[in-house]
Amino acid sequence: MNVISDIAAPQVDLELRGIAKNFGDFVALEHVDLSIERGEFVAIMGPSGCGKTTLLRIVAGLESMSSGQLLLRGQDISALPVHKRSTRLVWQNFALFPHLNVRQNIAFGLTLGRHDKAAVKAKVDEIAELVQLGQFLDRRVSQLSGGQKQRVGIARALVTEPEILLLDEPLSALDAHLRIRMQSEMKRLQQRLGLSFLYVTHNQSEAFSMADRVVVMNKGRIEQYGPPEEIYTRPRTHFVAEFVGSNNIFDGKVVDMQDGLIRVQCADAIISAAAGERPPGKGSTVSLVVQADKVRSSPIGMPGENMLGAVLSGREFTGSQVIYYLETASGGEVKMVAQEPFSQTGRAAINMAMQLYWSPADTVVLRPNIVPGVENMPGRHSYVALGT
């Protein structure tokens, strides 16, 4: 490795250029571009069938791509067969070899070519220590718990010194309690090794708690790519706003614009939002996104910004917070999350009329954007956020 490139700006470990995949007429992936920096933890998140696992399998070489290019540390690996790639996969169902014990499972990748038995043993011992499997090396795979099994899966991949680790929902087969413990363990491991992780999950809290950057995918396309905070507070598209967190979405038309604020006529009220750098013109259709924990309630009749009358229809106490479900006059649902459940709203009764408000600064504006090539399909809109 030469010194100059080490000093240069962050190195890219994996670069995906225009990856597309069709299964017959079905488009699984539609021109995906993505780049992952050295040592970065990137989570791909999306509903089932969005193409996230297909993408991972294409990087691993287990699936062919219809078009596109894959670069691993600057080298084009698009045409490289699976067994020659220095990517390693960690499986959702562990995929451990049942006829081999833990040691043999971990050593599998090291014993395929010429190898020195003593060196293999030393390496296996070292990696087993790292993932706390030292005392289980002689066990049969069937004698391990789920968490231990996945540790074997990770050790088996890491011991071959991959250039990137690919993880396909590795914790989804574990129970909730263990999953949370494994999350922090995995994050620590990743930071200690300085290895890039590409982590596929459908679990939002998993993605947000571990990843440096999160990819949100839908219908074979990337909707948004950025740090978890940005995805959470500044969703760029309608889909992300609906998929991530608990957001309220209001559709309406821009009626007015002044002092850096746009005013949007929605079904139940006129809502103000920060206009941003490229404000939408008067009369254009937009969607407004407000996070449920930015919504507050105030006594009825008090003046303020973004006032919205609603009737309480349900309440969910989750321990640290309370989620209120409210219904507006036009029948739309609004969610409000309160950290201090009993202070202002008191013990709000069902069917009680409430007045909600929130700051225009907390309102994200999405302008509908017709998906290229499908203009004629009714109802297929995607919304792109304006300058944030």
């Binding site: 691993a60 070489g61 287990l62 699976v82 067994h83 020659k84 990517t87 390693r88 996969l89 499986w91 169902n93 995929a95 451990l96 070899f97 049942p98 006829h99 014990n101 599998f108 990748g109 395929l112 070519g113 049969r140 795979v141 069937s142 004698q143 088996r156 991949a157 071959t160």
Partner: protein, 314 residues
């Protein structure tokens, strides 16, 4: 509430007991019928055969007795005259090699069906592989006679193609016996092996490939070891069926087909000709008991091997 309605519609006490009784009688039928079947059609004939082996023939009449004369007589002829030991050796040799080659032919076919053919074609390919099973065994053996005869289709075809010097003497050798047996066994072995191989989790093969294994290494290190139990079961099944079979040895092996052990009849063929020609049924029964005993030993051997691999696989 639905739950509250349930006890009302079913009065307590009596129906519950009746339901339990019904379940018990269903259990009794479920266990009783197969038990009765195997007692009638397996245990009883076997016991009859065992008992018959101790009876004697006096003045051309079968006489009930408890005598070891038949077994002593057979023991005397083990290495002389009839030379039963040699026939058992021939049978074992033919059965074991047949089993080996039958599995050697069927296993790659199964691998091709599972890993090469698209999943939607598996059923069709299995049907095709199993199709010969629905034609008569004897008919198949006759067909092989026509194919394998000295002036049969194989040799005539070779001569016609210009290979006059390349002629095989196959019919009435134990090679022909094995060919007939393999053709007979293949459909069953293919089904048994298919179940084994198709049940190997594909993720394991992909995991091996992902870890750097070539296709061959994935086969050697994952598919083959995970097929071991199936391979052992099908091999011992093939060996046992071959050991007991009479028809292939008679029709294709010619009764005393040649093998590396010489022109020696199979033990089963020997029992068959004794049964057809001699008037000493108890002695034939004693011979049959020896055949059964060897079969049981083969089965135990196969089971022991399979059990050992099972323990290995955790």
């Amino acid at each position: 509430m639905v739950a509250a309605d349930v006890p009302q519609s079913i009065p307590t006490g009596v129906p519950e007991a009746a339901a339990t009784a019904g379940l018990n009688s269903l259990k009794a039928v479920g266990i009783g019928v197969p038990l009765l079947y195997s007692l009638t059609f397996f245990a009883a004939p076997l016991v009859f055969l065992v008992v018959l082996g101790f009876w004697l023939v006096e003045d051309f009449q079968v006489v009930p007795a408890l005598s070891l004369d038949n077994y002593l007589d057979i023991a005397e002829h083990m290495f002389a005259k009839s030379n039963y030991a040699l026939a058992i050796a021939q049978s074992l040799w033919v059965a074991l090699t047949t089993a080996f080659f039958a599995v050697l032919v069927c296993y790659p076919m199964v691998l091709a069906i599972v890993y090469v053919a698209p999943r939607s074609r598996h059923r069709l390919l299995l049907m095709l592989a199993v199709a010969p099973f629905w034609s008569s065994y004897v008919l198949r053996l006759f067909s092989w006679q026509i194919l394998l005869a000295n002036k049969g289709i194989v040799n005539s075809g070779l001569a016609w193609a210009g290979f006059e010097n390349l002629q095989f003497k196959l019919l009435y050798t134990q090679i022909a016996t094995r060919i007939g047996l393999i053709h007979y066994l293949a459909p069953i072995l293919i089904v048994v092996l298919y179940v084994t191989v198709a049940n190997i989790d594909r993720h394991l093969i992909q995991a091996a490939r992902d870890l750097g294994a070539t296709r061959w290494q994935a086969f050697r290190r994952v598919i083959l070891p995970m097929s071991r139990t199936g391979l052992l079961v099908s091999t011992s099944f093939a060996a046992i069926v071959s050991f007991g079979d009479v028809l292939s040895g008679a029709l294709l092996g010619g009764g005393a087909g040649a093998s590396v052990l010489g022109s020696v009849p199979l033990f089963s063929n020997m029992i068959m000709s004794e049964y057809a020609s001699s008037t000493n049924l108890p002695r034939t029964a004693a011979l049959a008991m020896i055949l059964v005993l060897v079969m049981v030993l083969m089965l135990a051997g196969g089971a022991a091997l399979a059990e050992r691999t099972k323990v290995d696989a955790g």
